[in-house]
């Protein structure tokens, strides 16, 4: 078949490139590569959030496990408090930890090791995603989903519409699963005329006030499953949702559509805790995880966006509609003001918790 042969040709070129690259820089790590039998007799524990996500990560790492001879254990869910207990007691059993967006920045050097980038091939990671203590685990988005039957010809187009209950009446659903989403608060601040780029602690209160003004009908969902259920049952008219959940809800027949403008860019992070027994083995796992093939497997199994820019996962149309790495989506995405949120994480969490507790 024509398609197949073209594909094979592409594979050959890529393989050549990899070989050539390896020949030129012998000790430089290449994403996805590991030396045969190099970790024989060793054990690594990967900690993540379970479910199809961690199953997908395990599948993505299968090649690495087979080749290196390492024994891979899975544990979870990730809890920073548990990690802190391990680091404090000097008995760290988690070798590689998948975390939320912010923790690797907030606890960099304290709970998470500063990464030595000579041991990792980060050349294929999208720009601006490698942190001092983390590489991305996958990308996804927080997107505004609206009920197409309710808003018909006049759908909301942006977060400004989401916060405008006069022009767009209806019940709102917001992520109340734990930490505040920085991007959402920044969008709320914009409504008041504030500038997220020059955000101050007082602006957090202003932004939270905008959320509070959405009224007592507002639903703060606690789990991704709940947000999906809210869409499928039509309980909320506009929902802030994770792209994976939004995709599944639409697949299941929810009459909702995304408003992509300023979708919030979020990611999971991969980290190595302070005090792991075998740092090099952890690096080897990370480096294999960043590989093209591993990322394709991950995307195909989980529908999350791969973080290796060469990856070409084969997914069906319903999944592809919610992948966030297409050129169009990349243009529409909104990145939160990391520099502000990292030092103000605790303050934001405190204020957000008060809102969550009905204050």
């Amino acid at each position: 078949m024509k398609f197949k042969s073209r594909f094979a040709g592409l594979g050959a070129i890529l393989a050549l490139g990899v070989v050539a690259g390896a020949a030129f820089a012998q000790d430089k790590p290449v994403a996805g590569e590991v030396k045969e039998g190099s970790l024989k007799g060793k054990t690594l524990t990967l900690v993540s959030y379970g479910g199809i996500y961690q199953d997908g990560q395990a599948a993505a790492l299968k090649e690495f496990v087979d080749k290196s001879g390492v024994k891979l254990l899975n544990d979870g869910p990730t809890e920073i408090a548990k990690l802190q207990a391990q680091v404090e007691s000097g008995n760290v059993t988690w070798d590689v930890v998948d975390t939320d967006d912010l923790p690797p920045y907030v606890y960099c050097g304290k709970l998470f090791q500063k990464l030595d980038l000579t041991k990792l091939d980060v050349s294929k990671i999208p720009e601006g995603q490698v942190g001092e203590c983390s590489v991305p685990a996958m990308n996804y988005g927080v997107v505004l989903m609206y009920n197409t039957e309710k808003y018909k010809d006049n759908p909301p187009k942006s977060w400004a519409d989401f916060f405008d209950t006069a022009k767009f009446p209806g019940v709102r659903g917001i992520d109340g699963s734990g930490s505040p989403t920085g991007g959402l608060l920044e969008q709320a601040l914009k409504v008041t005329g504030g500038d997220p780029k020059a955000m101050t602690v007082a602006d957090i209160d202003k932004a939270i006030d905008v959320v509070r003004k959405l009224g007592p009908d507002t639903i703060f969902w606690k789990t991704g499953a709940e947000s999906q259920q809210l869409a499928e049952s039509g309980e909320a008219d506009m929902l802030m949702m994770w792209t994976g959940r939004a995709m599944t809800a639409v697949k299941n027949g929810a009459k909702y559509a995304p408003a992509w403008q300023d979708w919030l860019v979020v990611m999971d992070q991969m980290t190595i805790p302070v005090g792991v027994k075998d740092t090099d083995a952890s690096y080897a796992l990370l480096n294999a995880y960043l590989g093209k093939h591993a990322q394709e497997v991950l995307a195909e199994q989980t529908s999350y966006t791969p973080i290796n820019s060469d990856a070409q996962p084969k997914v069906d149309a319903s999944v592809a509609a919610f992948l966030t790495n297409t050129p169009d989506r990349q243009k529409q995405g909104y990145k939160q003001n990391f520099k502000f949120w990292v030092p103000n994480f605790a303050a934001a969490q405190e204020k957000w918790s008060a809102l969550m507790a009905g204050n």
Binding site: I80, A81, S233, G234, Q349, S353, M356, A357, G358, N359
Partner: protein, 289 residues
């Protein structure tokens, strides 16, 4: 304990034998010390020592109005849950004593089977039932009551928690009620008491120890509830456990989380100590009649 308590004739007089029952409880005591005592002590210590030694965590707790609101709400919700449980469980437990063995088996299974189902599953079923587009609201709407919000309200949380905790009320009640001699009721009626009078002066006082036992278990379990209020409730029904979770797991403020736990524990003890004299006098009354 008290002087007028009857002593069993077979009670051993030799002092050397007295330690034996205590020796048998030793495994339980060791276990309690290891899994309750030690962690509790750690919590108290950390609440006083993190980040520095001092009462800062308690000062913080009582200085933030939100904490006090939530503490009070935790007790209010637990009290409502206890009341709802007593009202639902009392007739049910009575029915269990009044029917034949076969029907009783069915009734016992009706209590126990939900008890074996995970609390999360039961809570999620309540989400489906209570939501605005759910069964209960559809029925209410058909009956002409529109716009009644159950989910994400305190009412919804109380309904869900009461259902999850009901077995803890029914079982102690039943175990007390089945020991009550129903002939006493007949005796009262044969002496001229109306059935309601016989119930209130004879049966109810005799069953009160069961009510107290069940109520205390339900109330204390309700105070620490986490998953049901988190899933069925909204911001206005957040309970203290959720705030503790935020402090401990999201902010790594273990000292503050510990202080919150200690405040909840001490408040509970104080309330129980206040309730104890009432209960004790009732027990005596029940014992005398």
């Amino acid at each position: 304990m008290s002087a007028h308590e009857p002593t069993t004739p077979s009670a051993p007089k030799r002092a050397g034998w007295a330690w034996r029952p205590f020796a048998l409880t030793l495994p339980a005591l060791v276990l309690l010390a290891a899994v309750i005592g030690y962690p509790l002590l750690t919590i108290v210590l950390r609440s006083l020592s993190e980040p520095q030694w001092g009462a800062q965590n308690y000062v913080w707790f009582f200085g933030a109005p939100i904490n006090l609101t939530v503490l009070q709400r935790t007790f209010t919700i637990s009290a409502w849950v206890t009341i709802v449980c007593v009202i639902c469980a009392y007739p049910y437990a009575y029915l269990m004593t009044a029917v034949g063995p076969r029907v009783r088996l069915v009734l016992v299974l009706c209590v126990l089977i939900p008890f074996w189902v995970s609390g999360v599953v039961r809570t999620l079923s309540w989400v489906i039932l209570l939501q605005d587009s759910g069964v209960i609201n559809s029925l209410l709407r058909a009956a002409g009551f529109d716009g009644i919000r159950l989910i994400r309200t305190q009412t919804g949380v109380v309904i869900g928690m009461a259902q999850v905790l009901l077995p803890f009320m029914i079982l102690p009640l039943y175990s007390v009620m089945k020991g009550i001699d129903l002939r006493l009721m007949r005796a009262a009626q044969s002496l001229g008491a109306r059935p309601s009078r016989a119930f209130f002066t004879v049966y109810l006082p005799l069953s009160l120890p069961g009510v107290y036992a069940g109520a205390i278990i339900v109330f204390i379990l309700a105070l620490g509830f986490y998953i049901t209020p988190a899933l069925l409730g909204g911001p206005r029904s957040t309970m203290l456990s959720t705030l503790v979770q935020t402090q401990v797991l999201s902010l790594l403020q273990w000292g503050r989380g510990g202080a919150m736990g200690v405040v909840l524990l001490v408040t509970t003890f104080v309330l129980l100590a206040l309730a104890a004299p009432v209960m004790r006098s009732r027990y005596r009354e029940a014992g005398r009649s």
